[in-house]
């Protein structure tokens, strides 16, 4: 083995650097753990009303100090105290009811990307501090969607952390898979209208420090969305593999078989892939600047 040309690495320090992607330390995972968030879906409280499935969710707007990189705190505006907010999930045609309470220090709303009446759009019905509002609409169309606050100044309300994924499953469902959510985001920690840190699911380099375990040969499905502010595009690239891509997840046929996909602001979709080789595979935005400022991680493919 020693004589094999591809066994050496530059140095232990370089190896360590690449495994840790530069950043120092770790965040307090007891407050928000991106590994748990990754596969966590809020299906709401389900009940039948007049023969229809109704899903009721409770979302509270609140201010929270969140840790966006080891040791670096950010004064966020949040849904339920976390960034991204809870991933809401329903099936096409379900009745969705969201009780929204504003316990933050600013007016906020919930604006869903979907099909709904005007007064459910979270644009004109501003929910003041201490007020409540109930959003109720049908879940349509199926796909990989998002919701965010739409109060002005819009850029700030989004950049501060008021966004999340919103998944509507097709009635017939999708094939069995290891499903996860990645919300690509960034943080302007010094408020100079440009991001200092980037990530998928908030914490810089979290999935590099804590690789995502997936099984060899098992289908992986990622509901991915780009909620970046200040920067116009983001992207997703996986190593050693290609993926089927479903733009906005609104069709059951993939549009593309690729290993890199570019996302504008609010653009989202579904990625599906299966790893045939075990080992450590990197995934990251191919905007290398963001890669090195936090938006990168590893899949650890196990037998």
């Amino acid at each position: 083995m020693e004589d094999m040309p591809n066994s050496p690495v530059a140095s232990d320090a370089m190896q360590e650097l690449h495994m840790g992607m530069g950043a120092k330390g770790d965040v307090d995972l007891s407050r928000f753990n991106p590994t748990e968030f990754l596969r966590n879906f809020d299906y709401g409280e389900v009940r039948q009303e007049g023969g229809r499935t109704v899903r009721e969710y409770e979302i509270t707007a609140q201010d929270a100090e969140i840790e966006v990189a080891p040791g670096v705190m950010y004064p966020a505006w949040t849904y339920n105290g976390q960034v991204p907010g809870p991933t809401l999930r329903a099936t096409e045609g379900d009745r969705i009811r969201i009780v929204f309470k504003n316990r933050a220090s600013m007016p906020h709303t919930m604006h869903f990307h979907g099909i709904h009446p005007a007064d459910m759009d979270g644009m004109f019905e501003i929910v003041g501090v201490g007020q409540e509002y109930v959003y109720e609409f049908d879940a349509e169309p199926f796909g990989s969607h998002i919701y965010h606050c739409h109060v002005l100044p819009l850029k700030e309300h989004i950049a501060r952390g008021m966004y999340a994924a919103f998944i509507i499953d097709p009635k017939e469902g999708r094939p069995e898979a290891d499903e996860m959510v990645m919300v690509m985001n960034g943080f302007d920690t010094n408020f100079d209208q440009s991001n200092e840190l980037y990530a998928a699911n908030t914490v810089a380099f979290h999935y590099a420090r804590h690789p995502i375990q997936i099984k060899k040969g098992e289908l992986v499905r990622i509901y991915i969305s780009n909620l970046l502010e200040f920067d116009f595009v983001n992207s997703m690239h996986i190593h050693g593999n290609f993926f089927d891509y479903y733009p906005t997840g609104t069709k059951l046929e993939p549009s593309e078989f690729t290993d890199t996909k570019i996302f504008a602001q609010a653009e989202r979709g579904i990625m599906e892939f299966t790893y045939d080789f075990p080992g450590m595979f990197m995934f990251h935005t191919h905007i290398s600047e963001f890669t090195e400022l936090g938006w990168s991680g590893f899949f650890e493919v196990v037998e």
Binding site: A13, A23, K24, A69, G71, V72, T189, E196, E292, L293
Partner: protein, 423 residues
């Protein structure tokens, strides 16, 4: 009362004061009893009570909701080895600063505080080691991100080259730079002495006026350099007022001690004036050495032939200026004096390059240059006086064409040759 009477009365009172013993001072000055010390301590006691109350209860004007002021000043960035940046910063703000992440060229990077503590207290300095595979000739900007997400400092490496290590060889090389830009030109300028001794009274007056022009240029150059460095100092040091005050105190101090230079004579010996010009110019050349040494250490200036020639031309006039006051001395000062004058005027350039290369401190540099500013101002005053006196002796007006011409030529020469030596 008539004027005479008043005069007489005053004279009488004067005589009385002279004849009668001094009245005891009790009427104007109270006795210094044992309680006297306590009276002096009273305000301090009040201050102590106030401080204690503030410490315990707060001043009543504090605001908990105001975020901390996080402000680090970069003192020095060095590249001691391939694959390493070493950054030294001072916390110039009122609150502690905790550095949680460091970026290099917009990439989060590993780092290590030399003392293991990433919290820097106000007025405290800290050294951070950043392992980084830097490439020679490239530029780097770092970012020090605090626990609140503020980018508290952005240390820069304009051009990556190894920072010269302290060794016999680098020490000698820096000395050589200082020698070229300081000692050589000043000595060459002094070599004009025999020539200038023979140019006649009018010519000598012209040279004196030229010296005033030269010094006027140098004082501005030194002061601007000092304020430029002072602006880089952490806020709590009040860099620019410090420079101005040190310059002012130096000037006043030198003016106040002028009598010592005169040693009872009507005016200070002209040789001693030459020594003071030489000292002022020396402090200016220290600043030049600092600038060149720093640029050289940062790899910004390759001290090429062109620059050496430029500095020689620029500083050669300084030798003339040092020689100007002694042109009319009946006896030529000994060669030892000339050697000393050259060394005092040019030698500090060597010192400057050493300081910049091995032990740079913005604070010390600013203070040296401020002293230089004050010293040059004082010699402007002194040489100005000599120029006026010599003009009066020659029966020419103070603002004669000769004097104004000399002054202008001095400034123009310095400005013109200054164009050759931008570092």
């Amino acid at each position: 009362m008539s004027r005479d009477r008043r005069d007489r009365q005053e004279r009488g009172a004067e005589m009385e004061r002279e004849n009668t013993p001094e009245p005891p001072e009790e009427t104007t000055e109270k006795g210094r009893g044992p309680g006297w010390v306590m009276l002096g301590l009273l305000p301090l006691l009040g201050l102590g009570v106030l401080l204690a109350l503030i410490v315990v209860n707060g001043a009543g004007i504090g605001r908990e909701d105001v975020p901390a002021v996080e402000e680090l000043t970069v003192n020095r960035v060095s590249l001691p080895s391939e694959g390493e940046f070493v950054v030294n910063v001072t916390n110039g703000g009122p609150d502690p600063v905790t550095v949680e992440q460091v970026t290099v060229n917009e990439a989060l990077w590993n780092f290590q505080f030399a003392d293991g503590d990433n919290t820097i207290q106000p007025r405290e300095s800290a050294t951070v080691n950043i392992p980084y595979p830097w490439d020679e000739g490239a530029a780097y900007t770092m970012g020090m991100i605090t626990n609140t997400g503020v980018v508290a400092a952005e240390p820069e490496v304009p051009l990556a080259v190894l920072t010269p290590e302290f060794s016999g060889e680098t020490f000698a090389r820096y000395a050589l730079i200082g020698f070229y830009v300081g000692v050589v030109p000043v000595s060459l300028g002094l070599l004009w002495y025999p020539f200038l001794r023979r140019v006649g009274t009018a010519g000598m007056n012209f040279v004196l006026a030229l010296t005033v022009g030269l010094l006027a240029y140098l004082v501005l150059d030194t002061l601007l350099e000092a304020t430029e460095i002072a602006a880089e100092l952490p806020g709590f040091l009040s860099g620019i007022p410090l420079v101005l005050l040190v310059a002012m105190l130096t000037l006043l101090g030198l003016l106040g001690t002028e009598r010592l230079f005169r040693r009872g004579r009507e005016e200070a010996s002209r040789l001693s004036t030459s020594y003071r010009i030489s000292t002022g110019i020396g402090l200016h050349n220290l600043g030049e050495g600092l600038a060149i040494g720093a640029a050289f250490a940062l790899g910004e200036a390759a001290l090429g032939t062109f620059l050496v020639i430029g500095f020689t031309l620029h500083n050669i006039t300084e030798g003339v200026g040092i020689a100007a006051p002694i042109l009319k001395e009946r006896h030529r000062p000994s060669l030892g004096h000339f050697a000393a004058l050259a060394l005092i005027g040019g030698g500090p350039a060597i010192l400057g390059t050493w300081i910049a290369g091995f032990a740079y401190s913005n604070l010390l540099s600013a203070i040296f240059l401020a002293i230089g500013t004050g010293a040059i101002l004082q010699v402007i005053y002194e040489v100005g006086k000599i120029t006026l006196k010599d003009s009066a002796r020659a029966n020419t007006p103070a603002f004669s064409a000769m004097n104004l011409g000399g002054l202008t030529v001095g400034i123009v020469i310095m400005y013109g040759t200054g164009l050759l030596v931008m570092v």
